[in-house]
């Protein structure tokens, strides 16, 4: 039983047709990496799953919660389902999006307290557990402005984990980072993968995808071109578009792991 099941997803931005009949599923404990050129629709696909982007059409199922989108406006009932989908998906953004007016621990306990109505005394140990997991216990009382990019992203991961989601969505989590800070974030993500966290990752880090992913999805022009295990995708891509993309990206950025 897949934890995420996307079926026949369509997305238009005005005249732009960004997603064309996209279907994808993610099994529990699976790590799926989505790769592709910028503008291929991979981030939009991810953002449609928790409805930060409203699909034009299609079916989204997360942990047995289903939203069927047609041309009509969302009903109140659908909005409620969407909120429950968001509770079961943790999202990590390219730009971190930590709350700058709250310190690190407050960033982590905010949603559990506000959304899940958890008591502060219950939320704090939980938050501390995940803060330790990303190795930032010593930054507990800092404000985000005083953290490096890599630290911010690790806090953002801990913030998402503190909501104890069923699946984690990563939207190019290392693209806004200085090269020397990328490693610490990828290390945290690798550890999550080892622990069996279900992850859907949009990334440009080919070495990470090759090492960690169970399946790699290649997208181009709003369509899923090819899906397969990393060994196959990276070594013997079936589709010429995938081959071309990988040749170019691996030539410019040699995968040094």
């Amino acid at each position: 039983m897949p934890i995420i099941q996307v079926t026949g997803l369509e997305k238009h931005f005005g005249p732009l047709h960004v997603l064309k009949d996209v279907s994808l599923s993610v099994e529990p404990r699976e790590v799926v990496c989505i790769i592709g050129r910028s503008g291929s629709g991979k981030s939009t696909l991810l953002r449609c799953i928790n409805f930060l982007e409203q699909p034009t059409q299609g079916r989204i199922e997360v942990d047995e919660l289903v939203v069927n989108v047609d041309q009509h406006r969302l009903t109140d009932k659908q909005r409620l389902v969407i909120r429950h989908i968001r509770l079961r998906t943790g999202m990590v953004f390219q730009e971190f999006n930590l709350f700058p007016h709250l310190n690190v621990i407050e960033n982590l306990i905010e949603a559990p307290m506000v959304v899940k109505e958890m008591k502060r005394e219950a939320a704090i140990p939980l938050a501390e557990k995940y803060l330790a997991k990303v190795g930032l216990t010593h930054k507990r009382d800092e404000y985000p402005a005083r953290l490096s990019g890599g630290q911010k992203q690790r806090v953002a991961i801990a913030r998402a984990l503190t909501m104890q989601p069923e699946v984690m969505l990563f939207d190019e989590p290392t693209s806004a980072l200085d090269p020397e800070l990328i490693g610490e974030v990828l290390d945290v993500m690798k550890e999550l993968a080892r622990d069996g966290t279900t992850m859907l990752v949009v990334t440009h880090e080919m070495a990470f995808a090759r090492e960690v992913a169970d399946r790699v999805v290649y997208m181009d022009e709003g369509q899923i071109v090819e899906v397969g295990p990393p060994e196959q995708i990276f070594a013997t891509p079936h589709d010429p578009r995938t081959r071309q993309f990988l040749e170019r990206i691996l030539r410019t950025a040699p995968s040094g792991d």
Binding site: L52, R83, F93, N97, F99, E110, A111, V115, A145, R159
Partner: protein, 280 residues
């Protein structure tokens, strides 16, 4: 720069920094001295001294210090009233401004229309008219407001309209990413507003609201035109006219307004520094 012997990069930078600091200090001292001179000139103009040097014969303005001594304590009682009116008005105005700003950002047409209509109407008419309106027009409807209440009502509505733009800018200054992060964590629209957007907007809104309060301190004098508000302006003017000492009365009033403005400006900049906590 003089021919400095081969200095390390760090000490060179320190040297430049020190020079800049020194230049900044010199500038500050010069500003303070200039202020003192300007103040002295102002005091001199009202000192009543007569200066005769050759063909120059200057008589400065002579003030009735006896009247000032008697009137100042009475006029000063108006300062409290001025503060109360301004504080009450800025509070109401802030609430109105927030609601109006949210209305401006609403996708529901009637709510958007209501807030733009309100802002347009208030900004399109003079504050003085609005004060008179609440004092003189409403009694026709059987609503009789005291001068003070009419003043506070008019000031609140007026400043609320102007300040709604400040609040709107504050709310819009909170990035899309913040909203998305809040929503992705499962927050509802109103939780997102209350917990994430407004606290950050507040930081942007506080300094200009301080400015509005300082402007309000002075605009509250317009409430005196209803003739029944015993604030600074009304008390001072009345006393001055009665004894033909309006100039002296006005000077006392001016000193009060000026003094309050200076104090609140200082408070505002302190508040500004405190709310900047966690700023990038």
């Amino acid at each position: 720069m003089e021919a400095t012997p081969a200095l390390g990069g760090a000490s060179q930078a320190q040297l430049i920094l020190k020079q800049q600091e020194r230049a900044q200090r010199v500038f500050s001292v010069q500003v303070v001295i200039s202020w003192a001179i300007l103040l002295a000139v102002l005091v001199f103009i009202f000192s009543g001294v007569r200066i005769q040097i050759g063909p120059i014969d200057v008589q400065t303005i002579q003030l009735d210090s006896d009247f000032i001594n008697r009137a100042a304590p009475v006029i000063s009682q108006g300062a409290l009233q001025t503060l109360v009116i301004s504080a009450a008005s800025i509070l109401c105005a802030s609430v109105l401004a927030l609601l109006t700003a949210l209305g401006r950002l609403s996708h529901i047409a009637p709510i958007y229309a209501l807030s733009t209509f309100y802002v347009s109407l208030i900004r399109g008419t003079p504050l003085l008219l609005q004060i008179f309106f609440f004092f003189l027009a409403l009694p026709r409807l059987g609503i009789i407001l005291s001068g003070t209440v009419a003043g506070v009502t008019a000031l609140s509505l007026n400043y609320g309209a102007y300040m709604s733009e400040i609040f709107r800018a504050g709310i819009q200054s909170v990035g899309k990413g913040q909203r998305e992060a809040a929503l992705a964590l499962g927050m509802t629209q109103s939780q997102m507003m209350r917990r994430i957007v407004l606290p950050q907007a507040l930081r942007v809104v506080v300094p200009p609201t301080g400015n509005e309060f300082i402007a309000m301190l002075k605009d509250s004098s317009l409430a005196s035109t209803t003739g029944f508000v015993r604030e600074l302006m009304w008390l001072g003017q009345n006393l001055g006219r009665r004894e033909f000492r309006s100039l002296e009365a006005l000077i006392v009033i001016a000193l009060w307004y000026w003094g309050m403005t200076i104090v609140f400006s200082a408070l505002q900049s302190r508040l500004e520094r405190r709310t900047a906590r966690g700023e990038r």
